[in-house]
């Protein structure tokens, strides 16, 4: 294979002599060619440049003669042979070319004067088989997009003549071990044209595969194998949903801002935490039980503007995977799900700018090569300008108010040679909510990731990451002569090493370690003025979260595959700080001081993960899995919809790690030539050490948080159905979830089971996209779900002349069922090679159903002798238009 080795010295020369890079490269290449010419002696040293695809040997040899002038001699056995060979040579010596291309075939060659003699040798292949590593070699490389050079995650690479294949990892790397000889690899990926690549294996082979973008989605794709982006029927991985960013493009959303977190909520088992909240519930879990990763960095608050937008700018995103259960062992730390978001690497072929202007936000994205074809950068930014409208308000305070967010994604990658690649990526986002200098809050996430991919050999891939995450908020209130500032923060330093070992054809072993140092600043308050408030801060909390894992995917037979592994997590709480003993009523009965770095307690949790897949036939399979997860960071919230000021709390001597055991089974079927996919998954999840606030908990206190908490257990179970149409003018899906989620906490609801707030019996989503013409694409989605479980009054009484409400069972009532239809349309305006633009229209809540954001109770405004229930609704009929461009 071609190597990139000359690039390094030549770059060095460029640096030293300030010669333009390309000139130097040419010079070097020329020198090398001259050198190899000078050394040329026999016919086997003659350089050849030729590509031959699977042609009979006689024809192939004639072509080689035509290409380099060397003649061949052979007998009739060779001439009449039906053996087909493939050659792919770039200025390589003929000897090497022949050795490679004839290796898997029963032919040998020797030099005869100026000619080359080809002889039939029946024993050769057998001998090789006996001698070599059972006659198998590894083809490995990276799958990329031809147009942009972006590596492609989850591309399917299958051997057409065998029921065998693999998929590219999160860096586009793949490795397949096959018997020596000729094979055809069928390569496909979502949004890309499928390709068939011939390989001829006579040794380990590096083969980078480039796929063409499939811009013309109208053209019927005729792939007989499983199509792009199909669920892998053979893989034991279950509970996973994959979205490529193209898929989210046409789904209508609120105010036209494409939003991956809103889009995943249309999938079964993943439920919105409601309007005005950025959170989501997975299989009955709480919002803090989702691990949200942006280029491997945990994001602690994934929503902007109180949940109306997610922190993820779709322009910068390449790929989204969400694991609802059966999390691969490389992930840990949250109970319910892993949302793994990968940013684009940036186009390494050409410089481009894209962007959009909508009603309330504008965004811009620039990307391009650093070294063409090898490395690239990307910068993507967004800002809302909804507050510009506030200036039009008559209210003097509204006029001076601010309400906006901005965020910035940046990434660069650099190829250090054939085997090494570096990535640097970062995210910075901030929300600002301010009322005329009197009160304000801002909050935001910062993440940074430095990654190093290294290919040890064709079977061993490594990634090393250094990660930083930070979330903080600042609250500022001015009142009379007083000013208060409140600040809180959670910050991580994170080291991660992941290795993938493609150990022969049957086993793929992943293993690695992870170490995170957490610092939590629960809150500090500073006050000036005459309020008497003494500035103070709560003690910082420190913890070291270590984990090691190993997992193997074993292809036992053609039909049966087993993944088994374990993650061992160890959470060490470190000083300095005071830790307490607390009685059943939440009173402190003792405390102990720990010095800086002193170990307070270590929680060790082995987390076994096992999954099996049995493929019934080419189009259907059944799977089962079990996974345990442990969680040591907990978000304590008592508000309805979550707030940026909710508290992240680490496990302590009193707060035990939350643990979840999830069992699931599933049935998967493709039909109508893989155009449709049908999936059923059912799960049972057992939760331990769940946390809730005590009744009457004081949220704003300098007491240890444990004094305000209660602990218990949970269970949730359900069945999820998904029917998806993947190709054609009309595509989309129908998803339905039937589920139950309950909690039992000591001290709440008389210690009896009660519905978790997110318990929703039915949840339906229908998504349809229709490509009407080259110019117009229409889309619609409809959602319906059972209202949240809530506690409504069962009576009322007077205290000090004011009406208060009497409550009986926790969460025994229901909000009204939620339903909504959204419509969208995209009009392609201009499309040339250089410039593209489109207009996207959307109508959120198209029939204006007044969905309840909250329901509250009060004395009737006009008749104070009566009480009334009042529903507040956030959005009915929200139209929007966005202009998008790309050049």
């Amino acid at each position: 294979m071609k190597t990139n080795r000359p690039a390094w010295p030549s770059m060095l020369i460029c640096e030293i002599t300030r010669t333009p890079f390309r000139t130097a490269l040419c010079l070097l290449l020329f020198l090398m060619m001259a050198l190899s010419k000078a050394q040329a002696q026999g016919p086997l040293d003659k350089p050849v440049t030729i590509t031959i695809n699977n042609e009979p040997i006689k024809q192939a040899l004639e072509k080689i003669t035509a290409a380099c002038g060397v003649r061949f001699t052979y007998n009739e056995t060779v001439a009449k042979s039906t053996v087909k060979i493939s050659v792919n040579a770039q200025n390589q010596p003929l000897g090497e070319v022949l050795r490679k291309s004839l290796a898997p075939h029963p032919f040998i060659f020797t030099v005869l004067d100026n000619e080359v003699l080809i002889k039939y040798d029946a024993g050769k292949v057998k001998k090789q088989a006996a001698a070599g590593t059972d006659g198998k070699y590894t083809v490995s490389g990276t799958v990329k997009s031809k147009q942009t050079g972006e590596t492609i995650i989850g591309a399917s690479i299958r051997v057409t003549d065998a029921n065998f294949g693999t998929s590219s990892n999160e860096y586009g790397f793949y490795s397949l071990t096959l018997p020596a000889g000729d094979h055809q690899l069928s390569v496909s990926a979502m949004g890309q044209k499928a390709a068939v690549v011939p390989v001829s294996l006579a040794g380990n082979l590096r083969l980078n595969i480039e796929l063409e973008d499939n811009a013309q989605q109208l053209q019927e794709v005729t792939v007989k194998a499983a199509p792009a982006g199909a669920r892998d029927l053979a893989s034991p991985q279950m509970g996973v949903e994959h979205l490529s960013i193209q898929e989210t493009k046409n789904i209508p959303v609120l105010l036209g801002e494409r939003d991956v977190i809103k889009t995943i909520q249309l999938l079964p088992g993943i439920k919105s935490a409601g309007e005005g909240s950025g959170g989501f519930f997975v299989r009955g879990g709480a919002t803090d039980q989702n691990l949200i990763l942006l280029d491997e960095a945990p994001v602690y608050n994934a929503s902007h503007l109180l949940g109306f937008f997610s922190t993820f700018n779709s322009d910068a995103i390449k790929n989204i995977n969400i694991y609802k259960g059966d999390m691969p062992a490389q992930y840990g730390g949250r109970l319910s799900s892993v949302l793994d978001i990968k940013m684009n690497d940036g186009n390494n072929q050409k410089f481009g700018v894209s962007g959009g202007i909508g009603l309330i936000a504008a965004r811009i994205n620039a990307e391009g090569p650093i070294q063409k074809g090898k490395s690239s950068f990307l910068i993507s930014a967004r800002r809302t300008y909804a507050d510009a409208f506030l200036a039009l308000s008559k209210d003097s305070i509204a006029k001076k108010s601010q309400l906006y967010f901005y965020d910035l994604n940046a990434k660069a990658n650099y190829v250090l040679g054939d085997k090494d690649r570096l990535f640097v990526s970062g995210y910075f986002g901030k929300d600002v909510l301010k009322a005329a200098d009197i009160a304000g809050i801002n909050w935001g996430n910062t993440t940074a990731t430095l990654r190093w991919n290294h290919i040890f050999n064709s079977q061993l891939f490594s990634n090393t990451s250094l990660i930083y995450s930070n979330y903080d908020y600042k609250l500022n209130i001015k009142q009379d002569v007083n000013e208060y500032n409140i600040y809180s923060q959670i910050r991580d330093f994170n080291f991660k090493e992941d290795m993938q070992w493609y150990a022969g054809g049957k086993n793929t072993i992943s293993f690695g370690v992870n170490s995170i140092y957490h610092t939590i600043k629960p809150g500090e308050i500073s006050a000036t003025g005459n309020s008497g408030v003494i500035s103070q801060s709560l003690q910082n909390r420190y913890a070291l979260e270590n984990a090691a894992y190993v997992t193997n995917t074993w292809k036992a037979t053609d039909r049966f595959t087993l993944t088994y592994g374990v993650r061992l997590s160890a959470f060490t709480i470190l000083g300095s700080g005071d830790y307490y003993d607390i009685d059943a009523d939440g009173n402190i009965v003792g405390s102990k001081h720990y010095t800086s770095g002193q170990e307070v307690k270590t929680y060790i949790n082995p987390e076994p993960r096992i999954a099996a897949a049995f493929q019934l036939n080419d189009v259907s399979s059944i799977k089962a899995s079990y996974a345990r997860n442990a969680q040591n960071l907990h978000l304590i919230s008592n508000s309805n919809s979550g707030s940026p000021t909710d508290k992240w709390v680490a496990s302590t001597n009193i707060i035990k790690p939350e643990i979840a055991d999830q069992f699931s089974v599933g049935y998967y079927k493709d039909f109508n030539e893989h155009n449709y996919e049908f999936t059923v998954e059912s799960y049972y999840k057992k939760l331990q050490n769940q946390i809730d606030y005590r009744n009457g908990a004081n949220v704003f206190t300098n007491q240890p948080i444990e004094t305000q908490l209660l602990f218990g257990k949970g269970r949730s179970y359900g069945a999820e159905f998904l029917l998806k149409k993947k190709t054609g003018r009309l595509s989309g899906w129908i998803s339905y979830t039937l589920s139950k989620s309950e909690r039992m906490i000591d001290g709440i609801n008389n210690n009896k089971w009660y519905n978790a707030r997110q318990d929703r019996t039915h949840d339906i989503a229908i998504v349809a996209m229709y490509k009407a013409s080259e110019k117009w694409t229409f889309s619609a989605n409809f959602v319906y779900y059972t209202g949240d479980a809530v506690t409504f009054p069962s009576g009322k009484y007077q205290v000090d002349g004011v009406t208060y409400y009497y409550y009986t069972n926790r969460n025994a009532d229901r909000m009204p069922a939620y339903h909504r239809l959204d419509l969208g349309a995209t009009r392609q305006l201009k499309k040339t090679a250089k410039f593209q633009s489109d207009l996207t229209f959307s109508l959120y809540n198209a029939y204006g159903n007044p969905n309840a954001y909250r329901i509250f109770f009060r004395d009737n405004k006009t008749d104070a002798s009566r009480t009334e229930a009042v529903r507040t609704t956030l959005f009915t009929f929200v139209p929007s238009v966005t202009y998008n461009f790309k050049f």
């Binding site: 009160a439 009142q479 008497g532 309805n640 009322k796 009484y797 509250f856 002798s865 609704t873 009915t876």
Partner: protein, 273 residues
């Protein structure tokens, strides 16, 4: 201070979520009526009063559902038992009984075979130094006139944990909002505490306007009573902000809702300019 921060934060988020409100017909469960005991003993004459009532269904009217025929007594820590007699149905009083700071009082209510008891320490009163009005810079009254709040000034004693409740009257009308403070963040300091309230039903009689007479009562309350009012205002007022509404933490034993508070009262009056 805590109230200030809470109110302003809620206001800030609420402002960004402009929403539309509509009264709806909601089918709510009815339950067996429960007893509610509201017992108060102060250091001032006429301050001894116990209200006994029962909960009503949500759809009933808001009239006080007083229960007569109960035997109500308050005992001091010298084993003196003082009976309270019914004046109006459900309201029991002893016009001569006043409490003394430093003493613990025992409430006993017997009705229909049930007995509810509670005890409460009357803490020494913290003097209310002065009260004054401060204009709100964030909000105006509904009619656009400047909104004003009372600020109370007092010196918090350093040696004790102190819990306060404030009640505001505007031209004799009692403000509904529960106004609480403790000294968790202000122990031993001169405190200027702003008594904010949210006029959620836009009732002009609640606003403090020029010429209005404003009375503030400052009560030094027991921590259990503070806990009761804190949880009452956070989780039983029906505002829909709390994820888990629940009955407040009572200091009454025997299965009744409500509280028993023995407290001192300090009073100041001003006329709004």
């Amino acid at each position: 201070m805590k109230n200030t921060i809470k109110y302003i934060t809620i206001l800030l988020f609420a402002a960004s979520l402009s929403s539309c409100e509509k009264a709806i017909d909601l089918k709510l469960k009815d339950t067996t009526p429960q007893y509610v005991v509201e017992g108060v003993l102060t250091n001032q004459a006429g301050g001894c009063k116990v209200l006994l009532s029962k909960t009503k269904n949500f759809t009933d009217n808001n009239d006080f559902n007083g229960i007569g025929g109960a035997t109500v007594t308050i005992a001091d820590d010298n084993n003196n038992v003082y009976p309270l007699t019914a004046t109006i149905t459900g309201i029991y009083q002893n016009s001569t009984l006043t409490g003394n700071p430093g003493h613990t009082y025992q409430l006993n209510v017997s009705v229909d075979g049930k007995t509810f008891t509670s005890s409460c320490l009357m803490h020494p009163g913290v003097p209310l130094d002065s009260i004054y009005l401060v204009k709100d810079e964030l909000q105006n009254n509904k009619d656009g006139t400047p909104r004003k709040y009372v600020t109370v000034r007092y010196d918090d004693p350093i040696a004790t944990k102190n819990y306060y409740r404030f009640v505001q009257y505007v031209n004799g009308r009692k403000e509904e909002t529960i106004m609480l403070e403790d000294d968790e963040f202000t122990n031993g300091q001169e405190v200027n505490n702003n008594l904010r309230f949210d006029n959620s039903n836009d009732n002009p009689a609640r606003d403090i306007r020029p010429g209005n007479q404003v009375t503030i009562e400052m009560m030094s309350i027991d921590p259990t009573v503070y806990k009761y009012f804190y949880s009452l205002s956070n989780s039983a007022n029906g505002d829909g902000n709390n994820a888990a509404p629940a009955n407040p933490l009572t200091n009454i034993k025997g299965g009744a809702l409500g509280y028993f508070s023995a407290h001192t009262v300090e009073r100041k009056v001003l006329t709004a300019p």
